[in-house]
């Protein structure tokens, strides 16, 4: 059984689980009294480590290790639950927020205790009223019950690709624009007015809520050994039933994709997110997990699985992705502000078979120049995505570079590319 409903338990009929339903599905969450917090913290951190839980927002950093680095100062910390989901091809955090809001909030309660936070911000994109309504209602239900012990508030943020990046998030919460900031060391401390901030993704929080109830061994019992439990994926592209699915990590990639019923022969799959990696059909037999995808230079990331069928032009889709991502740049760092549009220019020229003969070598060289030179990971993600595309679509690239006409290049895109307004709202 690969479509295991744990995080998505009870959501099959697209009904929101209120607090009573939630507790009948998962059982009540019991936090220890303040005096025994230390022992409890140690044991829950241990279970999270056993579970092998990694950050579900795309970073894939081991959650137990991240939580263990939370500062122990006299001032209480602040926790941010990231529901921003800047990836246009990802819907999983939104689905969780709409249908299983209490799982996220239970996770927030547990995480707040683990990192010694006295207040929690639930960061939701401004243009997702369904998610913010569901979470706000859930907070009210909990207040009536008196179950929440820390102050929690939903905050609505401008929805930009790079705005959900954690430094951008914290920048906005501090009163600035939702633009990434520069940290000399990564991961560095994120502070709001002198208080340390810990940012965790919504699905990570929901997973923590399950691990705190059932333990790490239970969590991993769903997947191949050591792969790390279940993960929400958003499958889209050349499929008949695009949507969010819960899969056990370690499932064969082709079996994951089969859930959404692919409509044609698969020519490539973009994994992770728009700053992720294209993998060739050879990867379809690989286990969908960090380990299994490593040989393909790829990973699970935020759980985006974008299927390109044989009818798609990989070069044209890559050019569209590159242009969209270039427009999402905050424009703060030169290599990103100038480099990404330059990459998109050459890719568009190639896709339309009007590139000069240096286009491919220029592209490859620029990929090398731009990598690692932005304040945040945005340009690196674009570089990785394009580099993997040039590999996977090497044959198509040659044809395009030689000026051959491509009938697929003008097909409508299979990508979700939200309209970008002329003036960018970072506030």
């Amino acid at each position: 059984m690969i479509d295991t409903a744990r995080l998505l338990a009870g959501t099959a009929h697209a009904t929101r689980a209120d607090l009573d339903t939630h507790e009948s599905l998962h059982g009540p969450l019991t936090l220890p009294d303040r005096r025994s917090t230390d022992a409890w913290t140690a044991s829950v951190l241990h279970e999270i480590e056993l579970a092998g839980l990694t950050g579900r927002g795309g970073g894939s950093f081991p959650t137990a290790r991240k939580l263990a680095t939370a500062p122990r100062s006299r001032r209480a910390n602040h926790l941010v639950i990231n529901v921003m989901e800047g990836e246009p091809a990802s819907q999983k955090d939104s689905v969780l927020a709409c249908f299983a809001p209490h799982l996220i909030l239970d996770g927030a309660d547990v995480l707040a205790r683990l990192v010694r936070a006295s207040s929690v911000t639930i960061a939701v994109p401004r243009d997702n009223p369904a998610a913010s309504q569901s979470l706000s209602d859930a907070l009210i239900e909990r207040a009536r019950r008196g179950t929440s012990e820390v102050h929690m508030a939903v905050e609505l943020l401008p929805n930009r690709y790079a705005g959900g990046e954690e430094t951008g998030l914290v920048h906005w919460l501090e009163g600035g624009p939702a633009m990434p900031t520069f940290r000399a060391t990564k991961p560095g401390r994120l502070e709001i007015r002198g208080r340390a901030n810990i940012v965790d993704n919504a699905e990570t929080a929901a997973s923590v809520a399950l691990i705190a109830r059932h333990g790490g061994a239970w969590f991993t019992s769903a997947g191949a050994s050591g792969a790390g439990g279940t993960k929400l994926v958003t499958i889209s592209g050349s499929v008949a039933e695009a949507g969010v699915f819960e899969v056990t990590l370690g499932t064969r990639l082709s079996d994951v994709i089969a859930l959404a019923r692919p409509t044609s022969t698969i020519s490539a799959v973009l994994l992770g997110g728009y700053g992720g990696t294209f993998v060739p059909p050879a990867a379809l037999d690989a286990p969908y997990s960090a380990e299994g995808l490593k040989p393909f230079g790829s990973g699970v990331g935020a759980g985006v699985v974008l299927v390109l069928g044989a009818e798609c032009c990989g070069i044209a889709e890559t050019a569209r992705l590159a242009r969209w991502m270039a427009n999402e740049s905050a424009g703060q760092c030169g290599p990103c502000a100038f480099g990404l549009p330059a990459l998109a220019d050459d890719l568009e020229a190639l896709s339309e078979a009007r590139a000069d003969r240096h286009a491919v070598s220029r592209l490859r060289e620029r990929l090398g120049t731009i990598m690692g030179r932005g304040a945040c990971g945005h340009p690196d993600g674009v570089v990785r995505m394009i580099a993997s595309s040039l590999n996977v679509f090497e044959h198509d690239l040659e044809l395009h570079a030689s000026g051959a006409r491509c009938h697929s290049a003008t097909r409508p895109t299979v990508l979700a590319l939200p309209r970008q307004e002329g003036s960018i709202a970072w506030r």
């Binding site: 000399a184 030169g334 100038f338």
Partner: protein, 77 residues
């Protein structure tokens, strides 16, 4: 302690003075933004670096002290 030259890419506005003053340490990309040597600096490099750090009109350059392990892993790369 090994040190390395770094730039805050948000502060940097691509004036390019640094590459003119210290071409040994800094090249410019096609848009005029600095590409810094990833290598730890020797004594000459350090004195050159302190000059360019002081001369940067945006005060975007700084020295980073490398952890021992980090230093080694960079050397291997």
């Amino acid at each position: 302690m090994a040190v390395r030259l770094r730039v805050d890419p948000i502060r940097c506005d691509g004036f390019g003075h640094c590459a003119e003053l210290a071409p040994e340490l800094i090249a410019l990309d096609e848009w005029g933004y600095p590409i810094l040597t990833p290598e730890p600096l020797d004594a000459t490099g350090r004195s050159l670096a302190s000059t360019v750090i002081a001369q940067c009109p945006r005060k975007a350059l700084f020295l980073e002290t490398l952890e021992r392990s980090e230093h080694l892993s960079r050397a291997r790369r």
